[in-house]
């Protein structure tokens, strides 16, 4: 081998090595993008600017949920010098152990933290912060950072409004790309339902940092910075005063009150009791355990989530269906001898009242027997040739056209559908053809398999008040930047003709306005000049004393409010539900209550001992 080829080979080897190096450099510089991204992550740091969350207003422009200033306490561990732990703990309203624990944690993670500040305590109120600010000079490295938190000027809402809290990992995973650790989001109620409107858009400032995490300068003079966009304000349909009044009436009772403006479907009040006090909402983290351990389940929004038997209130529905089907005429008289007797010695009992009575009187006096005849007529209707199943399903369709047994489609989250039975229900229980109208006779008086939420009942009441149609109940009004689903502007008709409604309304008027001793079940709800029309309900409750239920609307002509009150274990409909609903109507329509004794009795009544705890 000659030396010539050797030196050529060495030169070729040199060339090969140079090409290998250049190829590798080319691949990481030109072909591979991820080093550029890594480089940006290395050197830029985004300081998040949190937007102000939208304010929630009531229908009259009063603030239900606002924002107030709170402070996060930040620590830059590198700047901290020896300090008086006890003095700091006192200033921050916390314990010495907490601060020691945090400082140890920072010492352990000091490499990760570098020169950055970390949040030590979140959301301390302004009063506490002021205490700290006075002595802050003694604690280098500690500082406060403003962070808006929710503020509730009026104690109205609670469950209805919902709470805002820091997102957890599961929440972040369920909303890919929308949230990061440390963000806040509405978790329940309106805060959750309108989260997208309320939250606004986060902004950020980009800074360059060095390898020690020290900020060097704004990135490209802030050219790529983005300012935060505040969240949209939400105007609700709630009347704050009415809501608050309803909560006061319902205190120490379990149940719900739902008030709707019949002409629009706007929810005026949505009370669920026991509820969450607004004072707990702002700092839900601190109270969460206490709330979740409460045996009466305050988180549970009974107004839309509790399915109750509606009781006698439902007689109106059966009456309307009977009228529509032509199997009932208002002047038809049926006897009642302390109940309806059927089969071999069976009886569905009733209270003492005159007999026989016509339809109007049956509503006024809430006669059970009358509606047993009505339901029997509906199910035994000749047009179905004795096919109870078909008759039953027809009845079911009629009932559900009132919104019962379905989700109404309101904008309030977690609405439940309740239950209206079909022939399948009974075919499964008794076998096909082995049941008849008497088997299901308790449906006539709103018992048995019928379940409805207070929202359903209020909506039903609004249908009667409107004489035959409803708007889907909703809680948010259209306002600047917030649009409403067009479905909330559409009239929803039932399968009962409009002409039949005035007939039952007359009965409802008489139930309230006949005067004491005349047999009207709801005379206690009477208010001079308001023309309240109502219907009581007393629903049997397998869990204890009967539930008290009442629906009413007023005034009779041109109704402004339709309301449903449901009080668990409250006894007769006239005992608690009727007076409460009546007081609500009076409060809403006149702005003041002229029956202080009744009001006091309602507010002070405590039924909690009757309620079976979960």
């Amino acid at each position: 081998m000659t030396t010539d080829t050797r030196h050529t080979r060495l030169l070729i080897g040199l060339g090969v090595v140079a090409v290998i190096l250049l190829a590798k450099i080319f691949s990481i510089q030109v072909l591979d993008d991820h080093y550029k991204i890594d480089a940006d992550n290395n050197t830029t740091v985004r300081e998040i600017i949190y937007p102000t969350r939208g304010v929630i207003y009531d229908r009259n422009g009063d603030i239900l949920v606002g924002n107030k200033v709170a402070y996060d306490i930040l620590v830059n561990p590198r700047d901290v010098q020896a300090f008086d732990t006890l003095a700091l703990a006192t200033a921050l309203d916390t314990t010495v152990e907490f601060i020691r624990g945090k400082m140890q944690e920072y010492a352990k993670n000091r490499r990760k933290i570098g020169f950055q500040s970390v949040t030590m305590i979140k959301q301390i109120p302004a009063e506490t912060y002021n205490k700290f600010a006075e002595v802050q000079y003694r604690f280098p490295g500690f500082k406060g950072q403003v962070r808006g938190i929710r503020d509730y000027p009026i104690n109205a809402g609670g469950n209805l409004l919902g709470y805002v809290s820091e997102v957890n990992q599961a929440y972040i995973d369920n909303h890919p790309g929308e949230y990061r650790s440390g963000d806040y989001a509405g978790m329940t109620g309106i805060e959750a339902a309108r989260e997208k409107d309320l939250r606004g858009e986060k902004g950020y400032h980009i800074f360059l940092r060095n390898s020690h995490n020290q900020i060097e300068q704004p990135y490209k003079d802030g050219e790529f910075d983005k300012e935060a966009v505040p969240g949209h304000d939400i105007v609700t349909t709630i009347d704050a005063q009415l809501q608050q009044y309803g909560q006061e009436l319902m205190q120490n009772k379990v149940g719900a009150i739902v008030a709707i403006e019949p002409g629009t479907g706007e929810i005026l009040a949505l009370v669920s009791s026991p509820g969450i006090d607004v004072s707990q909402l702002a700092d839900i983290g601190k109270h969460y355990e206490e709330i979740s351990k409460n045996p009466y389940r305050p988180m549970y929004n009974r107004a839309v989530q509790a399915s109750y038997p509606p009781g006698s209130v439902f007689k109106l529905c059966n009456g309307l269906i009977g009228l529509e089907e032509g199997v009932l005429r208002p002047e038809m008289m049926y006897p009642c001898s302390h109940g309806y007797h059927f089969g071999a010695g069976h009886k569905l009992g009733c209270h003492g009242h005159k007999s026989p009575i016509n339809m109007e009187e049956s509503i006024m006096m809430s006669c059970n027997a009358y509606y047993c005849y009505v339901l029997k007529n509906i199910l035994d209707n000749r047009k179905f040739n004795g096919d109870y199943g078909e008759a039953m399903d027809h009845w079911h369709d009629m009932v559900t056209s009132f919104g019962f047994g379905t989700k109404l489609g309101s904008d309030f989250p977690n609405e439940l559908s309740g239950n209206i039975p079909t022939s399948k229900t009974y075919n499964r229980a008794y076998g096909k053809g082995r049941w008849n109208s008497t088997t299901v006779i308790s449906l006539s008086i709103g018992q048995g398999e019928i379940l409805a939420t207070p929202m359903h009942l209020a909506n039903f009441c609004a249908i009667v008040a409107n004489r035959g149609f409803y708007y889907i109940p909703h809680i948010v009004k259209a306002s600047e930047g917030v649009e409403l689903d067009p479905k909330y502007y559409e009239k929803q008709y039932t399968k009962v003709s409009l002409e039949h409604f005035p007939k039952v309304i007359k009965g409802m008027w008489r139930a309230v306005n006949s005067g004491a001793g005349m047999g009207g079940t709801a005379w206690i709800a009477h208010v001079d000049g308001l023309d309240i029309c109502g219907k009581t309900g007393t629903a049997q409750n397998p869990r204890g004393a009967d539930n008290s239920c009442f629906i009413c609307f007023a005034p009779m002509d041109n109704p402004k409010i339709a309301i449903a009150a449901y009080v668990e274990n409250g006894g007769f409909g006239a005992t608690y539900a009727a007076p409460m609903a009546s007081l609500m109507v009076e409060k809403y329509l006149t702005g003041e209550v002229k029956r202080p004794d009744l009001e006091k009795r309602m507010k002070e009544a405590n039924l909690m001992s009757r309620v079976k705890k979960d």
Binding site: A18, L22, K24, I25, Q29, Y35, T43, L208
Partner: protein, 510 residues
Amino acid sequence: MIGENTHKRGLRQSVDWKLIGVYILLVLIGWVNIYASVHSENPSSIFDWSVRSGKQFVWMLTAFGLAGLILFVIPPRLWETGSIPMYIGVCFLLVAVIFLSRDVKGSHSWFEFGPIKFQPAEISKITTSLLLATVMSRQNFKMSAWKDFFLVAAIIGVPMLIIVAESETGSALVYTGFIFVLYREGFNGWWIALIGLAILLFITTLTLSPYTSVLILVTILTLSNAFRGPRKYFWRRIYLGLGFVAVMAFLPRLWGMLQDSIQAHIDWMQNVTWVPQANESTTYQWAFLLKVKPLYLLLALGFISLPFIGMRAFRLKDGFLGLSVLAFIIGVGLIFSTDFIFQNVLQDHQRSRIEVLLGMKEDLAGVGYNVNQSKIAIGSGGLTGKGFLQGTQTAFGFVPEQSTDFIFCTVGEEWGFLGCLVVILLYVFLIVRIILDAERCRESFNRIYGYCVAACIFMHLFINIGMTVGLMPVIGIPLPLLSYGGSSLWAFTILIFIFVALYRQEKKYF
């Protein structure tokens, strides 16, 4: 002196000005990038003594002075005649520094005189090159003679070992580059191939498996024998060798199936207590097979066939085949000792650097941090770079040692691929120019010394840039002429300019 030589070729013709031009260009590029690699709030002048670029400016000026001294003042003959005392003196310094220096990151290699620090290891490259050139240019020197080979190996090995003792393994690695000089002077190229093979086997054993490494060894030996041996045996050797490898590639799976069935049978036997004398069953006689790994089978087959191959080599008088048998035995030995070398001979930080390089371990916060940050810096430069002083990765201190060992990151980040291309081409030009000049020399001392210079620059270039882009493990050696530091810049200046002076000498008189 200039006047004396006017009757011969002038300064213009005798000095390789292109070489010097590239040298100056590289030094200037280094200086500018050192300035860019250190970020400060208020950019100071590039000449400011308080920053590194200012200091480097002084090192540059003194290095140019040194270059002039070597080129015009010191008689070039001195390098050959003084090579032995210089070599011994530097070796003495290398040893002394171990005892006299402070511990810098675990290594003892720096002399400190006030603000001035210098590493004898930098100079020993020069003295070793000079002595190598002196010894190898002797009339009776024969590369193929064992005596001469051992002498050369000792000249290279002594400073290398002392430097390893200083815990500067990286610098010691540069000395392996002298093997290219030996190759040029007649050293058998197959030895270099064998060294390459050993490195390959070391890596495959660590990353793949010893079994695969043995198969690779067999494949390479087969192919080299087929191509190098007699033509008529070419296909036979291919069939036999590669056929063996192909069959053996499937052995582990087949063997695993066999072992599974034996194991299943044994499990079954142990549960079936009603079979009398179950323990004496023949199944248990085969149980030993469970302990036999496929690797052992492979080796057994290999070593059984070795005597036959050896016999054949003897009969055909095929020395290469005989050497291959030897290479197989040594190779298997290396494969089996790889684990031992890796776990016991290498130091912890070296082991983890290799693990990270080979992708056996990802450790971006620890050992892998340097390389990862270095790749990010270079990678973020893109095709044309971010522009002078616009780099963020190096200037903000994400890349460690950003003005010394990792200076290439600044080039990559601020000047992009085009900048890297220019710098690497300049180095290639420098090395090629030195080699071509060396080839033109009539005196073998000059030629050999030239090759030594080229080899040193090449090794530094390859190891340093290879390190910054993740092709080589992290080995802390400077990039010649670019990296910050007087000791390194002076050493390379002396190294290169001795050759320039020697070359000038040649041109002047021939």
